[in-house]
């Protein structure tokens, strides 16, 4: 690529969009023909969006700032446990708090942990940070697993309400919900479809807001300093930047986004357990980020989608009984091979950041991207 063609979409981007469009159409056909339950499809969309959030959070830390954070599962888990402990009927602590308020509980927990983990480890060399953060994430998991008087331990937390359960109109819907047009009933929807749909709306709003926020800060002077730190930390230091402060800020922002994903997960699945904090969660998110393209938010979104495709695809493939291998090992194998092949063949990922790094104004022609 001699000249960077920043105005138009590259053939690769068109290919990705085309592929996703085709897959979406296929899923829609599956729903219409009754092969796939609509509520399940909506659930999958919600789950993909959750992985997109996690990937965007990690992208702030690793993609923008070059910090190897192997404690994604801990922040995700704290967000999930934070809201679950406050809202769930099965919570050993309080329960019954409105999810909208509990959301901030989850975020606050994650922010505190981010400072506690970040303060000692962000000064470390890259590979030490990887080992230390994985170790500290395990400490969090062991804590949640063993302090059952606060966290219900290995049994996990049940009785988590839906996010909309106490909202004025949405919390009072009756099911099956009948949709009227001009006084005549048009179609009715079961409870699972309505709640899944509301979850998708919620997560779409969150993903869109986070995406716009990240695009803004990535292009800001703050984002430029962070990219400089990633490339050459000593250089940034020489330019008079307090690199530790910048890294800390990015670490906390990324962790908050991961916690947000955790909060959403709690209210989507309505159950959390220490299993959700296993290191494998962290590595799923890593695959999503390096597959999509390190430093690229669109790439992170593509990666999040791919993870759910792998998780559900392996389940589907083994359900049909066509393979002599269980779903769990097949998934591990695919994730492992993906990591190896990405680093070998395409270390920059499928959608590396290009246009994202350039202000729309500087593209000329007043074109607003």
């Amino acid at each position: 690529m001699s000249t960077l063609d920043v105005g138009a979409y590259s053939p690769r981007e068109k290919g990705v969009v085309g592929l996703l469009g085709a897959l979406g159409a296929l899923l829609l056909i599956a729903v219409v023909t009754g092969f796939l339950a609509p509520a399940y499809l909506l659930y999958l969309v919600g789950l993909s969006a959750m992985y997109m959030l996690l990937s965007m959070g990690l992208n702030v830390q690793w993609g923008y700032g070059g910090m190897i954070n192997f404690s994604v599962a801990a922040f995700f888990g704290l967000g999930a446990y934070g809201t679950a402990l406050l809202t769930a009927s099965g919570s050993p602590i309080s329960g019954g708090v409105s999810p909208v308020i509990a959301l901030f509980g989850g975020l606050a927990l994650a922010a505190v942990l981010a400072v506690i983990i970040g303060y000692p480890t962000l000064k470390l060399r890259d590979d030490y940070l990887a080992i230390a953060s994985l170790g500290l994430a395990e400490v969090v998991r062991i804590f949640i697993l063993n302090e059952s008087q606060w966290t219900a331990g290995s049994a996990g937390l049940t009785g988590i309400p839906l996010f909309f359960s106490d909202w004025p109109v949405l919390g009072d819907l009756t099911y099956p919900y009948v949709f009227y047009a001009g006084g005549t009933p048009v179609f009715n929807m079961s409870q699972s479809v309505v709640t899944s749909f509301l979850n998708v709306v919620l997560v779409t709003v969150i993903v869109a807001a986070v995406y716009l926020f990240l695009r803004r800060i990535h292009q800001s002077p703050w984002g430029r300093v962070l990219r400089t730190i990633r490339t050459d930390e000593d250089l940034a230091e020489t330019l008079g930047k307090n690199t530790f402060a910048f890294k800390m800020q990015a670490f906390v922002i990324g962790s908050l986004i991961m916690a947000l994903a955790g909060v959403f997960y709690s209210h989507l699945v309505l159950f959390v357990s220490p299993q959700d904090l296993q290191p494998i969660t962290t590595f799923y998110v890593w695959v999503a980020v390096i597959l999509g393209g390190t430093g690229s938010d669109r790439g992170a979104m593509l990666g999040g989608f791919t993870i759910v495709a792998i998780q559900q695809g392996t389940r589907f493939m083994t359900d049909t009984g066509a393979l002599p291998i269980g779903a769990a090992p097949l998934r591990l194998m695919l994730v492992g091979l993906l990591i190896i092949f990405i680093v070998r063949l395409r270390p920059e990922g499928i959608l590396p950041p290009e246009r994202e790094l350039i202000w729309p104004d500087s593209l000329g022609g007043g074109r607003d991207e």
């Binding site: 000064k123 230390a132 097949l330």
Partner: protein, 305 residues
């Protein structure tokens, strides 16, 4: 007092396992220059290799320290298998990569998953045991010191000591060992001095993985065997390597001894009134690791190779 002696005895067994794991991790860190996250799964691989081999030579020959001779043959098979797989992985995966140590680190996670997926697909996730009858504590030690140590514990400690002594002789007394130390110390200088560092790196993979496999076999013998044992212990092994000083083989041994002891001494904390349960033993090791990284990143034996 007897309680403390008991903890120390347990610690010695656990330390032996950690030491065997940490040597290989430290060798890879110093010679291939990356944090190998697949090392734990190499330990698991060796343990399963020995498991299958033990099924073949099972009850062969008499017994040494309560373990049949066939078990030691199986141990050798497990070590050889891990060494072969590690060398193949190096040639097929790591060597062709044009990336930095972070890229290698991330790749090694993928390698770990592939190893574990293969084991999980072949053997399932159920707990397995080597088919060797467990014997009670050695009466002599139980009577005189009131410490329960089984023959199996002694076998683990002695075997680890033999392997570590063998490595020491290799490193100090042979030309190959001197080449390995030179390469670990300064790869470029070693190369211009005429050492074929490519071959040294292969030897390093063989030695490190074989010792890791031995650690995995003893870990499975000490507790039980499932596809996650290696990955679950990996961070404790990292803690040992970091405490000892990354890249220092003797540091790794010392770090392994200390971390293994601390791991088994954790119950003492609740004996003296600190309400920290046994489940936090790995957590204690991780916290020590982070503290060492902060205060003395070169470890307690930073410069010895």
């Amino acid at each position: 007092m007897a309680q403390i002696l008991q903890y120390l005895a347990n610690g010695l067994v656990f330390s032996s396992i950690i030491i065997l794991g940490s040597i290989g991790l430290s060798l890879v860190y110093s010679i291939a220059d990356f944090a190998n996250f697949a090392h734990g799964d190499t330990m698991t691989l060796g343990a399963y290799g020995a498991f299958v081999a033990f099924g073949v030579f099972g009850g062969l020959g008499g017994t040494v320290l309560g373990l049949p001779i066939g078990f030691f043959l199986a141990l050798a098979v497990g070590m050889a298998l891990a060494a072969i797989v590690a060398v193949l992985t190096h040639i097929l995966v790591y060597k062709p990569l044009d990336t930095d140590s972070i890229g290698l680190l991330i790749t090694s996670i993928g390698v770990a998953f592939v190893y574990r997926a293969v084991l999980q697909a072949s053997f399932g996730t159920d707990f397995l045991q080597y088919d060797i009858r467990r014997s009670g504590p050695i009466p002599l030690l139980l009577d005189t010191l009131d410490v329960a140590v089984t023959q199996r514990d002694v076998a683990i400690i002695v075997s680890a000591a033999v392997l570590v002594a063998g490595l020491h002789l290799l490193l100090q007394r042979t030309t190959l060992g001197r080449k390995m130390r030179a390469t670990a110390d300064n790869p470029d200088l070693a190369r211009v001095s005429g050492i074929r560092t490519d071959r040294v790196i292969l030897v390093m993979w063989v030695v490190g993985s074989a010792l890791a496999a031995a650690g995995g076999v003893f870990l499975a013998l000490y507790s039980q065997l499932d596809p996650r044992i290696g990955f679950n212990i990996l961070l404790v092994v990292f803690a040992a390597v970091i405490l000892g000083g990354i890249g220092s083989v003797y540091g790794a041994m010392l770090g392994g001894l200390l971390i293994g002891m601390l791991h088994e001494l954790t119950p003492l904390l609740s004996d003296v009134g600190l309400p920290i349960s046994n489940a936090y033993a790995p957590a204690v090791a991780f916290v020590i690791m982070v503290a060492v990284l902060l205060v003395r990143p070169r470890g307690i034996a930073g410069d010895m190779t």
